[in-house]
Amino acid sequence: MLALLVAQNIAFYIIAALMVFGALRVVTCKNLMHAALWLVLVLAGVAAQYILLAAEFVAITQVLVYLGAIIVLFLFGIMLTRAKTGTDDNLDNSKGARIGAGVIGLLLAGVMGYSLWDGFGKREFGDLLVQRTAQVSDSIFSTYLLPFEVISVLLLAALIGAIVLARRD
């Protein structure tokens, strides 16, 4: 068990380093398409971290939704509008906006880090167990049925809203 945890920690830090590097490239890249492709690395890293946490179902959902749908939509949108190769010099924001973004990013990281530390810092975790898909579906459709349905209706409303906004006639 110990050897597995050590291996898991090493894998975590390797993947985390790749994700941080990818995330920095997303915002510093001079080419919109490259930025979107670096985002693929970040999102794939998230899926890999879920697998390390033995949450198979969430990891596969991450791949299906983010990599399979959202990234494809990003790439599709970029290719329909400004699909040129080579660098693009007017992608940077003004200096003030960059400083503001940095401050907000640090603030968010601090708040989330503190809340994680506060909530889980002293907790001992037991053995890792692969979470079976049946457990996930059972808890969604019994304990969390109401929030699940509310979110479904919210997403439906968002879809209908998008169609209404996009239609010109």
Partner: protein
């Protein structure tokens, strides 16, 4: 021989190495088999011609010769291309294909990893190839490539949905998403108490099977769904700038994906590696399983390629309305009917 195989339990690193080597060998082999048998031979016979005759007995080694030819070619990239993305794109498509083989079971134990989320995993991983296609289309710096990639993305997004929905019926009926679990459910099933042939889901999920095969055809961008590579309209779509072994990788990935999807269809609808008269727990399946699965894969692949060689290309609007207005409503009706019957019986 079978008890010996059953007791073979190598250490983790060795089993991982074996699995990697087996998948690495199986992917080109299956692509080669489908290419030779269907693309060269059966297509020729359907069109009343002989097909390749010279290389090897009855021309069966033609594709090997073609492969050697592709590898010899110079590796060319267009002047305006984005080199890194251009070169990485075929590898992304191939990686998606390789990962698909992880979940395909050739018997209860002959599987790289029998994932608890098997079916879901297959659907998620198959959608990754779109990223490779879009990368190829954009990085080629060619308007035909770009149009092909846009068509491919629109088509693959549209047909992913019926595919997911078609599979739902099988998952509801089997009560599991594990591909081996689905095989066991079919092998141990009964039709109104009669256990003669188990319960292959093609009998109850024939609508699902039809939708799944149509969606697979579209995901493979094969005729009649070959708008993204339509050679008479946009030359060859996103593949137009690729030569030599990079084109070969696209070719291999397409046919290996056809094989693995035929395999998934065989597992979900035709009972997979099991035969009805032999319990799925039998040790015989260490030897028999791959052969049975292969036979069923060839059967499903024959349907896929039969359609490919028979129908003319759909127009873009026909393609989209076929998915959104016909396949998806049909799949939804199928899910509702399956769920109701599941609760009633």
């Amino acid at each position: 021989m079978t008890p010996m195989l059953a007791s073979f339990a190598p250490p983790y690193w060795l089993s991982t190495l074996i699995k990697v080597l087996v998948v690495g060998a199986v992917v080109p082999t299956t692509a080669l088999i489908l290419g030779v048998v269907f693309l060269f031979k059966i297509m020729s016979w359907m069109q009343s011609r002989l097909g390749p005759q010279e290389a090897g007995p009855r021309g069966l080694l033609q594709l090997l010769a073609d492969g050697v030819k592709f590898i010899q070619k110079e590796d060319i990239a267009p002047a305006g291309a984005d080199l890194w993305v251009f070169k990485a794109a075929p590898l992304v498509v191939l990686a998606s294909t390789l990962l698909l083989y992880v979940a395909l079971p050739a018997s209860a134990h002959l599987v790289v990893d029998d994932l608890d989320v098997g079916v879901f995993y297959v659907l998620a991983i198959s959608s990754l190839s779109v990223i490779g296609v879009l990368m190829a289309g954009w990085a080629s710096a060619n308007k035909y490539s770009l149009m092909g990639a846009l068509r491919a993305a629109g088509q693959l997004i549209a047909y992913e949905l019926p595919m997911v929905l078609a599979v739902m019926g099988v998952v509801i009926q089997a009560g599991t998403m594990s591909l081996n679990g689905i095989v066991f459910a079919q092998n141990g099933g009964a039709i109104f108490g009669w256990t003669g042939i188990g319960n292959p889901y093609i009998l109850t999920q024939f609508i699902g099977f039809f939708i799944f095969i149509a969606a697979v055809q579209a995901e493979l961008t094969q005729p009649p769904f070959d708008m993204p590579v339509a050679e008479s309209e946009i030359v060859s779509g996103y593949q137009v700038e690729y030569t030599g072994f990079r084109f070969l990788i696209f070719f291999l990935a397409e046919f290996a994906t056809a094989f693995v999807f035929a395999g998934i269809a065989a597992v979900m609808f035709l009972g997979g590696w099991a035969v009805p008269w032999l319990s799925a727990n039998s040790d015989w399946y260490y030897v028999l399983g791959p052969a049975v699965l292969f036979a069923k894969v060839m059967l499903v692949a024959f349907i896929i390629f039969w359609v490919r060689f028979t129908y003319p290309r759909l127009r873009e609007d026909q393609l989209q309305s076929f998915a959104w207005k016909f396949l998806i409503p049909l799949a939804l009706v199928n899910i509702v009917a399956t769920a109701i019957l599941k609760v009633v019986f």
